[in-house]
């Protein structure tokens, strides 16, 4: 089985407006990719489209993962194959503790791995608690976190740390981080960046979608791609981030003849 995420000529639109216009990208397990682009270039559309948000319409193209075209699958089926999305704006689920949610989610994802059954047997409580505690320690997350209601009243930094904790517990093969650094102060970016960095390894491929290069100081990508107007216009290594840092996106826009978009279409 091939655990690479292969995106081929993907076209995605939102309410009839084309946003992603023929995107090609392959992320292999163990690789770290950064996809950088200005507001309105289609970053979040790509992230949510890959995970199967019903609001985003797939017009054409293929996304192959584990030898299947995941575009045909429900979001939970994609998760069970080992795809993970760390949300830019995680949703609050009042009344559901982070621990309880994680136990159900981890059980769902793992049951698919072992027998593919729809009927999820819960991970035994003792085993789960032990694992959760270990992961929380690894990521430096406070114990009280587990008992709090999922994202309910969380600060921006807490939400992102909860996302990374979920990443650690669900053990995906490919993780997409959608603007995980947005809305965070410098310290929070460092904490989140170091957390993700500690999870990166041969079993995990990461696609970091970001506007600013600062998160990349902590998670050094091997591959950097520039997204403009729904297409990857340049790919390279670390040096591309330095170019962006120095010059911004404008020279890139001029080079490819793309006008500045006013606001990214997010919901």
């Amino acid at each position: 089985m091939c655990n690479d995420l292969i995106i081929q000529d993907l076209h995605v639109s939102v309410q009839g407006n084309p946003i992603i216009k023929g995107l090609n990208l392959t992320v292999k397990q163990g690789e770290v990719h950064a996809l950088m682009g200005p507001n309105g270039s289609g970053k979040s559309t790509l992230a949510k489209g890959l995970m199967g948000h019903p609001f985003y319409e797939i017009d054409s193209g293929e996304v192959i993962f584990n030898d299947v075209d995941v575009l045909e699958l429900e979001p939970n089926e994609r998760a069970k194959l080992g795809l993970f999305l760390a949300f830019q704006y995680p949703t609050a689920i009042p009344g559901v503790s982070l621990a309880n949610f994680l136990r159900i989610a981890a059980s769902a994802v793992r049951s698919a791995e072992t027998n593919g059954s729809e009927n999820n047997e819960l991970i035994p409580m003792r085993e789960f608690r032990k694992e959760l505690r270990a992961k929380m320690t690894q990521l430096g997350v406070d114990d009280s976190f587990a008992r709090r209601y999922l994202n309910d009243g969380f600060s921006g930094g807490e939400m992102k740390r909860a996302e990374i904790l979920q990443l650690a517990m669900l053990e995906p093969k490919i993780a997409i981080l959608d603007e995980t650094d947005s809305g965070l102060d410098i310290d929070a970016v460092r904490i989140v960046g170091e957390s993700v960095s500690s999870l990166v390894g041969p079993e995990l491929g990461v696609l970091i979608i970001t506007h600013y290069p600062r998160l990349l100081d902590y998670i050094r990508p091997q591959f950097v791609h520039i997204l403009l107007d729904g297409r990857i216009v340049e790919s390279g290594g670390w040096e591309l981030t330095q170019v962006l840092e120095a010059e911004g996106y404008d020279p890139m826009r001029e080079k490819y003849g793309i006008a500045e978009t006013v606001q990214e279409n997010t919901i």
């Binding site: 429900e74 689920i93 559901v96 769902a108």
Partner: protein
């Protein structure tokens, strides 16, 4: 269905084949004919060997019932036929105190209800109503030692006639409403609890009961007296088998909270979809006493239930926490009433409702502050969750304030399960049904966390069953 011996039990000890639609062939030892008149009541009194005062009480209530017009507000009662109901069914000849004496087929039904063995040991007493009569009622020695009385009400009339007579019908008189009158005429079973001054009962007292005779009404009568400075938690849980024709359940629960006492009354009801559940629950709280109703309503065709607290003296507090789940063909007309009859009394009402598959839930509440009841506070929160377009939620709050120096707050919110919430949970591996169930369970968490452990597990399981197949 698996036999009790081979029944799978999950880690928390509840039977996996816990179902709500079974029907054991228990032969009632006596069943009145359908319909109600003086003869049926007299026959019931004869069999029960009741004292004359109770016979008179019943006959008087029956006169009141006949004169009351059919209730027009709340839900649709037009299909309720009072002549098509058995008003008295006796399943066993005597009340049982020991589990060994309980007839085998009745035990089988309890097994199917999935009452775990450990729970029986854990709890201070188990009273279970079976076909209008309490057949099993076990009071542990500790309760006897500290002077707590926990009996079925029929037995209490014989053993504690003065105590029962003093309070019976004083909180909810026969003339209060149509169904209180009916209950007063034909009541059977229910629990009687007396807690002496200063005694704190550490474990919840609980009664399991269920309807198990087609077309049979259940009319329990529960009376709880918490004497000064005492504390007790009473738990009533209920699952009902499914029948095709209409069934009526109309209980009356009266509670007296004397000075400084604290009473909590917890109910989880899951009636079959053909049951009319028309219940009157009321407590009187005296100086510095606290009364808490925790009320979960699932199932039934129509539930009309508004637990109320009358705060009679300064410092009294009333709290009502209720959850209603209305599914297809169901109307949950539930709510709460608080009456601030004295100064410096406080109340809190939290109502949560869930409507699904065309179900309808209504909150009907009443906050009343009497003239001269200065410095009262009341806080009402109503949250409704609507799961689809066919379902409905209404709020009918009445606030009547006759005193300027009060602080009343009312908040109401209606929400739908958001696409973003579903997508978020599904992106973590949950199916749409699992995701919806999780959101609903989170919504009712404020009630569930107030429940004893076994009931919390049961409540979550009931929600899960209600949510099954809810996603097309």
């Amino acid at each position: 269905m698996a036999t009790p011996e081979t029944r799978e039990v999950d880690e928390i000890g509840i039977s996996k084949d816990y179902q709500y639609g079974f029907h054991d062939d228990v032969k009632p030892t006596f069943k009145s004919r359908k319909g109600l008149d003086e003869e049926v009541i007299n026959q019931m009194c004869d069999i029960k060997e009741e004292p004359d005062w109770m016979r008179e009480y019943r006959l008087n209530a029956y006169e009141i019932f006949k004169q009351k017009p059919m209730t027009k507000w709340g839900g649709d009662l037009s299909q309720l036929d009072f002549d098509d109901i058995y008003y008295y069914v006796k399943a066993s000849d005597r009340s049982e105190r020991s589990w060994d004496d309980v007839p085998e087929d009745i035990k089988k039904t309890f097994d199917r209800l999935g009452i775990p063995e450990a729970e029986r040991k854990f709890l201070a007493g188990v009273g279970a109503q079976y076909d209008s009569e309490v057949v099993y009622h076990n009071i542990v020695e500790e309760l006897d030692k500290i002077g707590v009385v926990f009996l079925d009400t029929d037995t209490a009339i014989k053993e504690y006639p003065d105590l029962v007579k003093k309070y019976f019908g004083t909180i909810i008189p026969s003339a209060d409403n149509q169904f209180a009158a009916l209950n007063s005429a034909v009541w059977s079973g229910g629990s009687f609890v007396y807690v002496p001054p200063g005694v704190k009962v550490e474990y919840p007292l609980q009664a399991y009961f269920r309807i198990n005779s087609e077309n049979m009404g259940q009319f329990e009568r529960t009376l709880i007296i918490a004497d000064e400075g005492s504390q007790v938690h009473y738990v009533e849980g209920c699952t009902a088998p499914t029948f095709s024709s209409e069934s009526l359940h109309s209980a009356v629960v009266e509670i007296v909270c004397m000075k400084g006492s604290r009473v909590r009354y917890t109910t989880i009801q899951n009636w079959a979809g053909n049951v009319y559940n028309l219940v009157t629950k009321r407590a009187m709280a005296y100086q510095d006493a606290q009364m808490e109703w925790v009320d979960g309503n699932l199932g039934s065709k129509l539930t009309m239930k508004y637990p109320s607290v009358y705060m009679m003296e300064p410092g009294a507090r009333g709290e009502i926490l209720s959850i209603a789940f209305a599914s297809k063909g169901q109307h949950q007309d539930a709510g709460a009433k608080v009456y601030h009859c004295a100064p410096h009394t406080t109340s809190q009402i939290t109502s949560k409702s869930i409507s699904k598959d065309g179900g309808r839930s209504s909150y009907r509440g009443w906050v009343d502050v009497a003239k001269g009841a200065k410095g009262c506070k009341s806080h009402v929160v109503c949250d409704a969750l609507i799961l689809d377009r066919d379902s409905r939620s209404d709020t009918y709050p009445v606030i009547e304030i006759n005193e300027n120096d009060t602080n009343i707050e009312h908040e109401a919110r209606v929400s739908k399960i958001g696409e973003e919430q579903l997508f978020y949970l599904m992106s973590r591996g949950l199916s749409e049904e699992e995701a919806s169930t999780m959101i609903v369970n989170g919504f009712i968490e404020p009630l569930v966390k107030e429940l004893p452990m076994e009931y919390a597990v049961e409540m979550n399981r009931l929600i899960q069953l209600q949510m099954e197949g809810s996603v097309g």
